[in-house]
Symmetry: C2
Subunit: 425 residues, 2 copies
């Protein structure tokens, strides 16, 4: 067991920021939290305390939608909307991952940056290439960070150089599952079933992936209702589906196992009802939705309806791996939406957005993203002393760290109780 001392801040509920100044947190050897305390508990009187002084201790971040092979293009090529952006910039870059040596080079940088930004859990799109995808999984296992890793399925409306077959993606996903089980990584790194999106997957592929989900219980991730042209295209491609979401649902890829759907900028009506009924997660990617001119997802509406909402960077349509930035954008886009609806849709509070980036996203991985007893200890130690030159409250210090801080401020990182050192290669 370890006993840590610091200024502890976390959000057990969306609008409840729990603050324990100079508090204690006991972490079992299993990595689970035993308890948090205002004073040193009597039962641990003789225990050594690992004291982080005046620093902040907060839950680590969870990025529920990110494309690892697009890391090289981060901060580039943001002058097109989704569909031409994919064809012009993204597919040619993903093609390079047929070369697993190139993949190792980029994936190491990608995982290093997740570590740097304090993102201890992620759900990641790889490419169609099984060898490169296995390497990505290896790099995550070495780093000790949690991740769902998706071998991408795409067999239509995509360039020849970036298509696989139904058999390829099914066999590849099974092999990745077997490989990770045999390698042993305490289940921190796992596969996730990943049809790219409806336009690039035939009904046959979607059906086979849905069957695989039913058979294995593996979770699912994909894209949904990101942009108007894409939605129109899906309508043409899938005239029998009652909505975009239904094109996943009819094949068992929409909450039959735990499911992440990125974007949902235009989700409403029946699609929204279906997500609610099936417990599908919206992964809100406001940085990406701004960069690709996609639009503003109605997050307040989703929250009012009780839909699960998590946050994602969506690199490289998102231009930055920092979840601090995503929290900022989530609030700001909700405020522009509030202005546009003349105040009808209340914007997100800081506490709500922080909750989305920690506990809400973490829930996809189990008991992750909070400091309640029984939760896995995923945590960051933050030194905000350069920002704290006046008498700021702890709540204000968290706010200023979120709006003004960056990777420099994170001094220590923990995933499931284990301190993670910088990955070097």
């Amino acid at each position: 067991m370890k006993l840590y001392k610091a200024n502890i801040l976390f959000t057990p509920e969306p609008n409840k920021l729990e603050i324990i100044p100079n508090g204690y947190i006991a972490v079992l050897n299993s990595g689970l939290i035993k308890g948090i305390y205002k004073e040193k508990p009597e039962e641990y009187e003789w225990r050594e305390v690992i004291d982080f002084g005046d620093k902040l201790l907060i839950p680590a971040f969870n990025d529920l939608h990110v494309h690892a092979p697009q890391y090289r293009n981060m901060g580039l090529a943001l002058d097109l909307e989704l569909l031409p952006w994919l064809n012009t910039y993204t597919f040619p870059e993903e093609r390079k991952f047929a070369d697993y040596q190139y993949a190792i080079k980029i994936y190491r940088r990608f995982v290093h940056e997740l570590w740097m930004q304090g993102t201890m859990r992620s759900s990641v799109f790889a490419t169609i290439h099984p060898e490169a995808t296995r390497r990505l999984a290896d790099i995550f296992v070495q780093a000790g960070m949690g991740s769902y890793i998706g071998l991408v399925g795409m067999n239509r409306n995509s360039p020849d150089f970036l298509c696989n077959s139904t058999k390829d993606v099914i066999d590849g996903t099974r092999m990745l599952k077997k490989y990770l089980e045999e390698r042993g990584n305490d289940d921190l790194v796992k596969p996730i079933i990943t049809p790219r999106f409806v336009p690039s997957c035939s009904d046959e592929m979607l059906k086979a992936l849905g069957d695989l989900a039913a058979e294995t219980g593996l979770p699912v991730q994909s894209h949904l209702s990101e942009n108007r042209s894409e939605i129109d295209w899906v309508k043409q491609l899938e005239p029998d589906s009652t909505c975009y979401g239904d094109a996943y649902n009819r094949y068992g890829l929409f909450g039959q196992t735990p499911t992440l759907m990125a974007h949902c900028c235009y989700t409403d009506g029946e699609e929204l009802e279906l997500m609610k009924r099936n417990g599908v997660y919206v992964v809100h990617c406001p940085m990406s939705n701004s960069n690709l001119s996609s639009g503003m997802a109605p997050i307040r509406k989703f929250l009012n309806e009780g839909i699960n909402v998590a946050l994602g960077t969506d690199v490289s349509a998102g231009h930055n791996m920092s979840m601090l930035r995503v929290i900022q954008y989530a609030i700001q886009v909700s405020k522009l939406h509030y202005a546009q609806t003349h105040g009808e849709m209340q914007f997100l509070s800081l506490s709500e957005a922080f909750y989305l980036a920690t506990k809400a996203g973490g829930s996809f991985f189990g008991k992750v993203g909070s400091f309640e007893p029984g939760y896995e200890f995923d945590a960051l130690v933050v030194d905000d002393s350069y920002l704290n030159y006046d008498n700021y409250t702890l709540e204000q210090r968290l706010e200023r760290y979120i709006y003004l801080g960056d990777d420099r401020d994170i001094k220590r990182r923990f995933c499931r109780g284990k301190e993670l050192v910088e990955p070097v290669y």
Copy 2:
């Protein structure tokens, strides 16, 4: 004369990014640029070259709207709209500047951060306090950075503790002008006439400030059409004005001397025509407009109409002093506006937004913000080597620096030819 060598990038026109790989730039002792060259010019064959290697050399940034006394509140208190935000958070903070010792503490940090972020010219709101405002001017002079500094006028609809009289602001502005002329600072630091905004200035005060502008030729800065409630309020307060802008114009505060108007989120029709006719600058503050739920300024429309547009952080309604962030927000908000207008209003290109932050804003200070001959050499040397791990083009390197870089990357800073070292106190 000095001869510098680097990868030179600048925007002489909004959609023209000039790139000179391993180019040379000759800077006269006056601080003006003599010329830029692809090869070392024969006439300077024997000159020593100051070689920045593979680094980028770009124009420094210009922040045309920022509130120095709000620096302590940066990254805080962003949960209200403009008018309650002013009363709840901002006025109580500005009140503290009656104490000039407190002012010195905050203003030193503020100017240090401008330096750190590579913002070599700014147009700044101080407070109603002449002593503190003079100290701010001193700190700028010591740092060697260019700035317009505004003693704020406000005498109605404001708390008693934050009101001055017409005489106070007129006398104070005259004294600041005289002080800076006598102190001698090569005209880099100058006063600017600063009515806070129409709701907080009586007609008498506006008239006196307009008369002062006419007499002295001093420029003017204020706020315009930021938020719907504010616009409605101005309509009530100034029933004789044909639009918000007219309430400035009738008193000679709307382009009769060079004028900056921050925000203009809802400027249209007659107000837009008046700005165009009078050459008034729109200072676009997209970070602030998102944070305070103000709305999205129609920048494409302004540019199409030939209106001057510059950029501002508007700290602390903007939460960050980095003009890189403002460039990002300007592009992103223009993209959300593009999505909202179904593509009617084309979003800003990277080159256009970079131009706004350099040459467009710089034009308010004279020939500033470009590397054309005759321009003042305001420049940043940027080390982006950590971002440049693959074969990126120079244009892509600039793009990635804008989207992913921060203050760490700026290695040297020049204002009017002079290298500025870090201000230490």
